[in-house]
C-alpha cells in the first residue's frame, strides 16, 4: 500500500521524474539473487515479447478493430464504425457459408486419412530391416518439398487428357478423367495432400519408440497376435500422438489456402475451382481481389472462433479416447 502511494506521489510530481523512479526501482530489484534471476529471465524473453507484441498482438487486435469499420483499402483516414455489420454480412454471404462448409468437409475427409496414413507409414518404418534409413528418407521427402513445387507437379500429373495420370489410365483402357474439373477437383486435392502425409512420420516414430518393449514381450508370452498387439498396445499408447496430429491437422486444414490455388491457378488472386473454394481463399479474395479489408477481417475472426470451438470439441472428447501413461500410473 505504501509502495503504491509512493508510486502515485512520484507520478504526481511530474512526468520527468517518473522514468527516474522506474530506473531506481529497477536498480533496487537487482540487488538480490532472486531479483537478478528475474531480471535475467525478462531480459532474455524481452526480444520475443517485444516482437510478439508489435508484430503479433498489435496487428491481431488492429485487425479486430478494422473488422468493425468500413475499411476498403483507401479510406483509412475516414474510417467509420459499422458495428457488427461485417459479421452479419458473413452469415448472409452464400460464398462464405459455402466455403466454410467445403473447408469443414475437406478437414473431415483429409485429416483422419492423413493421420492414419502417417501412422501406418510410421509403423512400417519402425521395423528393423536393412536400408530403413533410405525408406524413412524417401517417405519423409514429400514433406520437405516446397508447396509451390508440389502444386505444379500435381498440376502436370492431373493436366488435361494427355496428362501423366490420364495417359496411364488410357494405357489400361480406362476412361480419362478431368481431374481438375468440377467433379474430381476435391479428390485430386485430397490425393495431393495425402501424398504429403509423411510429415507426421517423425512424431509418430518418436511416439512408437517411446512404447516400452516390455508390453510387447509380455503380450507375446500371453499369445497375443500382431493385430491384438496393435489394437491393445500400440494404438492406445499412441493416442496422445494421434490426438496432437489431429489437432494440428484440423487447424491446418481449416486454414488451407494455397494448395487449391496452386492446383488450378497461375496467380495468387486466381480463385480455385468452386468445389475447392475454401474459407481462407474466400477471405483472401475479399481482402486482396475486392479490397474488402474490414469484411475480410470479420471473416478471419469468425474462422478463429470456429477453429477454437472445434479444438475445444476435440479436447473435450479426448478424455474418452486418449490414454496417458502417466495418468494411468497416477
Amino acid at each position: 500500500m505504501q509502495h503504491r502511494s509512493k508510486l502515485t506521489r512520484w507520478k504526481e510530481r511530474g512526468s520527468l521524474r517518473f522514468p527516474f523512479f522506474l530506473l531506481m526501482k529497477g536498480v533496487d530489484l537487482i540487488r538480490t539473487e532472486r531479483s537478478r534471476r528475474t531480471l535475467a529471465f525478462y531480459l532474455m524473453v524481452s526480444p520475443w515479447v517485444v516482437v510478439f507484441a508489435f508484430f503479433g498482438l498489435y496487428p491481431l487486435f488492429y485487425g479486430l478493430y478494422l473488422s468493425f469499420t468500413n475499411f476498403i483499402g483507401f479510406n483509412i483516414d475516414r474510417l467509420r464504425l459499422v458495428g457488427l455489420q461485417n459479421y452479419k454480412n458473413v452469415f448472409s454471404d452464400t460464398d462464405a457459408i459455402y466455403s466454410l462448409g467445403r473447408t469443414i468437409y475437406i478437414a473431415i475427409v483429409y485429416v483422419p486419412i492423413g493421420t492414419a496414413v502417417g501412422l501406418l507409414l510410421a509403423l512400417l518404418l519402425n521395423r528393423s530391416i536393412r536400408g530403413m534409413g533410405i525408406y524413412r528418407t524417401i517417405f519423409y521427402l514429400p514433406s520437405i518439398v516446397p508447396l509451390v513445387s508440389v502444386g505444379l507437379m500435381f498440376r502436370f500429373l492431373y493436366a488435361d487428357k494427355d496428362g501423366i495420370i490420364n495417359t496411364i489410365l488410357k494405357f489400361f483402357h480406362l476412361p480419362a478423367l478431368n481431374w481438375l474439373g468440377y467433379d474430381y477437383a476435391t479428390l485430386s486435392l485430397v490425393i495431393m495432400l495425402v501424398w504429403g502425409a509423411g510429415g507426421g512420420i517423425l512424431i509418430n516414430l518418436a511416439g512408437l519408440k517411446g512404447i516400452s518393449r516390455d508390453y510387447y514381450e509380455a503380450s507375446s508370452i500371453d499369445g497375443a497376435s500382431s493385430f491384438q498387439k496393435f489394437f491393445r498396445i500400440t494404438l492406445p499408447l499412441m493416442t496422445p500422438v494421434i490426438f496432437f496430429n489431429l489437432i494440428m491437422g484440423f487447424i491446418g486444414a481449416l486454414q488451407m489456402y494455397i494448395q487449391p490455388i496452386l492446383l488450378t491457378g497461375t496467380r495468387l488472386l486466381d480463385p480455385p475451382i468452386r468445389p475447392n473454394y475454401f474459407y481462407a481463399v474466400h477471405a483472401f479474395q475479399q481482402v486482396f481481389a475486392f479490397q474488402r479489408f474490414a469484411y475480410g477481417m470479420a471473416l478471419l475472426w469468425i474462422m478463429f472462433v470456429v477453429i477454437l470451438l472445434l479444438t475445444i470439441l476435440i479436447f473435450t472428447t479426448s478424455r474418452y479416447w486418449v490414454h496417458y501413461e502417466t495418468d494411468q500410473e497416477g
Binding site: 526501482k25 525478462y42 476498403i72 483509412i76 454471404d93 488435361d160 488472386l269 475451382i273 468452386r274 475486392f290
Partner: protein, 465 residues
C-alpha cells in the same frame, strides 16, 4: 514480487523501444538517398545540406517494359533523380495502397482502373503537367487517352489522369492461314467485321479433335478461352446497352443482352474452342497455342503483331498470319474499343510530383515512345507517332491497313463501374459453374447482381467524405 516483475518488464520494453527509436532515426540520418514516400521536408526544393541526395522515384512497371540501360540513361541525364522499378503485383499493390506505401507511378489498365483510382483519391490530375509539357501535348493525344479521363461521372470526360504506354483496339482477330487450310475453312473478308456469333461458329469449325485429343483449337484469347468482363462490356457497347445506373449505385447483369453474349461463350467453352477449365489444357493463355500453330485464331489487339514479329517460331513465316476487324454483336453497331489501354497514373500522395512527372514524361513521351511505336507493340498514345508503326513487309501492311479501319471505331469507352473493384473476377466466379453445367446463366446472373450490389454499397459508403 509479481508487481516488481511487471515493472521490470515495462522498463525493459521501454528501453528496447527507445533503442529501436534511436536506431531508426540513425538510419534515416545516414540514408544515402531519400525515398519517394519520405516527408515533405526531404524535397529537393528544400534549402539545406541534403541537396546533393538524389530523389528516388518508385516506378511500378514490369521488367520487360523498361530496361536497366534505359533507366541508367535517364539517371545519367538527370543526376538528381533515381528510378526504383518495382514489379507489378496486384496483391502487393493492394496492401501498399491500404497502408499509404504505394509507388509514385502506378501501372494501371486505363479502361478498368481509372475511375476507381480517381474516386479513391489515388490518381493525380496530370492536366496541368501536360499543359506545360513540350514533349506530351494535349492536342496530340490519341483517342485512347480518353479512357484516362474521368469527371466523377463519365469516363472519357474531364481531367487527364494518365497516358497509355501504347494501346490497341483489343478485339481484332489474328488468323493463321495454314490452320484455316488444315480445317478446310476459308479466311473471312478483312474489310468487313464478322458478328460475334459468326466468330464462335467459325471457331468451332476450326477446332479439330481426334478421339479425346484436341489437335487444333479454333480460338485463343489473352487468358483461358472463357468470357471476361471487358469482352462482355464490348459486346454490350455494340448493342448500345449499359448495366450501371448513372450514379453507379446499382448494376443489373440480369439483362437479355448479357445472357445473349455470355451464352455465346458458354457454348464456345463447351465446344472446347480454346483452352479452358473443362479441357484443362496446360496453356496459360491463347498466345501459347497460337504462336505454336495450335490455334487458328487469336482474339487480340494490334500489339500482338509485335509478338508475331519477334517470336522465334512465327517471325520466319509472318505471311501466314493476318488481322481481321473486331467482330460486332448481332444487330449491333460497329465498335472496336480498347479493352485495357495499359498506362500509368501518378500517385497523388507522391512527395516529389515534379521529379515523378519528369520520369513519367520521359517514359510516356519522347524517345522511348518513338522506340515503342517503331517496334509495333501497340498504337502510340500520341497521334504523330502512328505513322512510325511498321509498314515494311506485307504482314505489316495488311495489319496496318486493318488497324486504320479500326481506329475509326475506337473512340467509344467501355462502361466501368468505379465502385465495383475486380468485377472481372466476380463474373468469372459465377460463370464457372455454368460452363460445367452445374448452374444456369439466369441463376448465375442473379447471384452476380447480389454480390455486385453488396460491393457497390460498401464502396459508395466508404467513398463518402
Amino acid at each position: 514480487m509479481k508487481k516488481k516483475g511487471y515493472l521490470l518488464l515495462g522498463l525493459i520494453m521501454a528501453v528496447g523501444l527507445t533503442a529501436c527509436g534511436n536506431n531508426k532515426s540513425g538510419s534515416e540520418t545516414n540514408s544515402p538517398v531519400k525515398e519517394g514516400n519520405e516527408s515533405q521536408q526531404a524535397s529537393p526544393s528544400d534549402k539545406g545540406g541534403k541537396d546533393a541526395d538524389p530523389i528516388v522515384v518508385r516506378f511500378n512497371i514490369n521488367n520487360d517494359e523498361i530496361s536497366t540501360e534505359q533507366i541508367k540513361q535517364f539517371e545519367d541525364d538527370n543526376p538528381g533523380i533515381k528510378i526504383q522499378r518495382e514489379d507489378t503485383d496486384a496483391t502487393k499493390l493492394a496492401a501498399q495502397l491500404a497502408t499509404g506505401e504505394a509507388p509514385d507511378i502506378i501501372r494501371i489498365s486505363g479502361v478498368n482502373d481509372t475511375p476507381s483510382y480517381v474516386i479513391r483519391g489515388i490518381a493525380m490530375d496530370l492536366t496541368p503537367f501536360i499543359q506545360k509539357s513540350s514533349i506530351i501535348r494535349e492536342d496530340d493525344l490519341g483517342p485512347a487517352t480518353n479512357v484516362f479521363r474521368f469527371d466523377g461521372k463519365v469516363q472519357g470526360q474531364g481531367p487527364i489522369y494518365g497516358i497509355p504506354k501504347d494501346w490497341s483496339p483489343d478485339y481484332t482477330v489474328w488468323y493463321n492461314k495454314k490452320l484455316f487450310e488444315a480445317a478446310g475453312v476459308p479466311i473471312p473478308d478483312a474489310s468487313q467485321p464478322m458478328t460475334w456469333k459468326e466468330l464462335f461458329e467459325l471457331s468451332k469449325k476450326l477446332t479439330i479433335t481426334e478421339g479425346d485429343t484436341i489437335k487444333q483449337f479454333g480460338l485463343g484469347i489473352l487468358g483461358k478461352s472463357e468470357a471476361d468482363l471487358p469482352w462482355l462490356m464490348t459486346y454490350l457497347l455494340s448493342k448500345g446497352v449499359t448495366l450501371s445506373s448513372s450514379d453507379f449505385s446499382s448494376i443489373d447483369y440480369d439483362k437479355p443482352e448479357v445472357k445473349e453474349g455470355l451464352g455465346l461463350w458458354v457454348d464456345a467453352v463447351k465446344a472446347n474452342v480454346g483452352p479452358n477449365q473443362i479441357n484443362q489444357d496446360k496453356a496459360a493463355w491463347g498466345g501459347e497455342i497460337f504462336l505454336t500453330d495450335r490455334a487458328a485464331m487469336m482474339l487480340s489487339g494490334y500489339w500482338f503483331s509485335g509478338l508475331l514479329r519477334n517470336d522465334e517460331h512465327t517471325k520466319t513465316h509472318l505471311d501466314d498470319f493476318g488481322m481481321l476487324p473486331a467482330p460486332i454483336a448481332e444487330g449491333g453497331k460497329r465498335v472496336s474499343p480498347t479493352g485495357s489501354a495499359t498506362g500509368a497514373i501518378i500517385n497523388k500522395a507522391t512527395k516529389h510530383p515534379e521529379e515523378t512527372w519528369k520520369v513519367y514524361e520521359w517514359y510516356f513521351g519522347g524517345k522511348l515512345a518513338e522506340e515503342r511505336a517503331k517496334g509495333g507493340w501497340g498504337v502510340p498514345a500520341m497521334k504523330h507517332l502512328v505513322e512510325m508503326l511498321p509498314q515494311t513487309t506485307e504482314f505489316d501492311k495488311q495489319a496496318f491497313k486493318v488497324l486504320q479501319g479500326e481506329l475509326n471505331y475506337s473512340n467509344d469507352v467501355l462502361e466501368v463501374n468505379p465502385y465495383l473493384l475486380n468485377g472481372d473476377a466476380l463474373l468469372k466466379k459465377h460463370l464457372t459453374p455454368v460452363y460445367f453445367g452445374k448452374s444456369m446463366l439466369d441463376e448465375a446472373m442473379k447471384q452476380l447482381n447480389k454480390d455486385a450490389s453488396t460491393l457497390l454499397k460498401e464502396g459508395m459508403s466508404a467513398a463518402q467524405k
